[in-house]
Symmetry: C2
Subunit: 344 residues, 2 copies
């Protein structure tokens, strides 16, 4: 069966091809009666406009890209779940890619728009690249960066206040009477900026309470995943003076740490209290459930899409548009891993 063309639709509807094009592409207004005739003919013929050609004529791909380090990280899949319907509601489809935190892959994305990868704008969660490297970004590329701003630039940032949130999480542990508090997830300068902000908040909470940070209890991990959390917790529990609480830089790290503790017969929170970060669904079902910092993911997704579509609409990338930093709300959610079964 031959595919229906715009001309076929025009013939069946008894209008000119230009009128059909006006209905399909919205180039010029048409009367309601004409629109109804054309839409009926489109449905009858199952006409499919040539999207690629139409976007080419507009100089647009009709797509945005969302690039995260790892797609199997629940925080990112929960965020994508919020981004995709909003982008589609705005008329954009979503290309998804993961970088594995590879700096070269990340650099390529923002510099030349990797060959064969057509998108009108990018929502980007960098990991291997320091934010100062984003200054190299193609100035014609509409760009929204997920995470708190650490360097100047004319693109937008959307994230929560990592220092304040980490300070609150640590203060919660201190308020429970814990004094030997470990941190799992630190990462070295210049990359790992989210981790460094969390370490800063951890230190501030100690300062607030006139407590010293035991540097031996600040454990670095290459990733924020379950395996790294479990490995770091085993090292901490091997010490002659193990911690009585741990601030974990993600819920996955906390879930890995919990696994390692229970494996050794260490009780959570009686022997060691744990708090995570991200408020992923998994932490609401684990045993015990995980106390956490809950970022307003809906607001992050909505704001990131809104800022990006605004930039695309202006057709100017980052040139001449001031970059803004949007701070979404966060709240502390105390559950069983710090409060015990009493939390039920």
């Amino acid at each position: 069966m031959r595919e229906a063309t715009l001309r076929d639709v025009a013939r069946l509807a008894g209008v000119s091809p230009r009128t059909v094009s006006n209905v399909v592409n919205g180039y010029a207004p048409v009367t309601e009666a004409t629109r109804a005739k054309v839409e009926k003919a489109i449905a009858e013929l199952d006409y499919r406009p040539n999207v690629v050609a139409r976007n080419l004529a507009r100089g647009r791909s009709g797509q945005i890209a969302v690039v995260v380090p790892y797609l199997d990280t629940p925080y990112f899949s929960e965020l994508l779940q919020g981004i995709i319907p909003r982008a589609r509601a705005g008329g954009y489809n979503v290309l998804v890619d993961q970088t594995d935190g590879d700096p070269e892959h990340e650099r390529e994305l923002i510099r030349r728009r990797a060959r064969g990868f057509a998108f009108d704008g990018l929502i980007f969660s960098p990991l291997g690249l320091a934010q100062r490297d984003l200054a190299d970004a193609d100035p014609t590329l509409p760009l929204v960066v997920l995470g708190e701003r650490s360097a100047a630039g004319s693109f937008d940032h959307v994230g929560i206040d990592d220092v304040a949130a980490s300070r609150e999480a640590t203060a919660h542990l201190i308020s429970l009477g814990r004094r030997r508090i470990a941190a799992i997830g630190d990462q070295p300068y210049p990359t790992g900026e989210a981790a460094q902000l969390r370490t800063t908040g951890f230190r501030q909470a100690h300062l607030d309470a006139a407590l010293e940070v035991d540097e031996a209890l600040v454990i670095g991990t290459p990733r924020f995943n379950r395996a790294d959390g479990a490995g770091a917790m085993r090292r901490l529990l091997n010490r002659s003076d193990p911690p009585d609480a741990v601030f974990c830089y993600s819920d996955l790290v906390a879930l890995g740490a919990l696994h390692a503790a229970l494996e050794r017969g260490v009780r959570v929170p009686e022997d060691v209290a744990l708090i995570g970060y991200d408020d992923i669904e998994e932490g609401r079902y684990s045993n015990p459930t995980i106390s956490t910092v809950s970022p307003d993911k809906e607001a992050i997704a909505a704001t990131a899409v809104e800022r990006l579509l605004m930039r695309i609409g202006l057709g100017r990338g980052t040139e001449g548009v001031a970059g803004v930093e949007v701070r979404a709300a966060h709240r502390l959610v105390a559950r069983e891993s710090t409060l015990g079964r009493a939390a039920r």
Copy 2:
């Protein structure tokens, strides 16, 4: 800064624009020396070929779509993690969409290639649509369906043997001496086909062991998620004759059921043994860890991409290409939720 054009590259390299086009698009062979000159000029000018125009000339978008019911389901994000790099290695970018299992959204995708959504082929995990509805699929659309085949069609299926796997999971519970075995996740005909196959396997294992299925213990759930697993488990535990084992149709369902059991002080596996399905990472870290059916996800991702790119390469969609059913391997992984702490 003005963007470099193909003409700029030609001028700098001292060749004709047609020669540059031949290098970039591979339309005609060029000598190694010429290629080197052109590539040097491309790098120097940071020339970015117009991907949209190039694909249009080829009648291709250079993209495949992967559509799943829910992106925040770990089974699908783990699968995507395998699909994306393989598609990119094959020269294709990946559009991701979720349908929320909405039959209308699913129908639109396979029939007209939803407006504004350009892709050369589709890897599709239907949920709201019965497989027999896929017969309506656009015959020009290269299509690979995830899951076991239940209806004829000229597209490919990639999945594991759901009946055999479910029979093995249930037999494992029987082998441990459990006799009152519940099932959580059944879904009504005609959609919910994966669920129906699992129920079939559950029944076969009972038949094999000359046991009767207590129909009151076969619990339907709208989704395969944690909340539905927890809700179904609470109903089972409210009975005067609760089960001593539960076959859950996904690991998320099992993790929700585990949460509900522990909340009530019911011991797993001593009072009730649990087995899940999918082998997601979360089940390897939960407390207790979750016994499960482990599908070979790497093989599923690799085969789905390979079959799809083959169909796209033929340029024929499903017309005249016989549909094949590829059965990936699976294995039973027994952990603490059936074997107890002894499994450590």
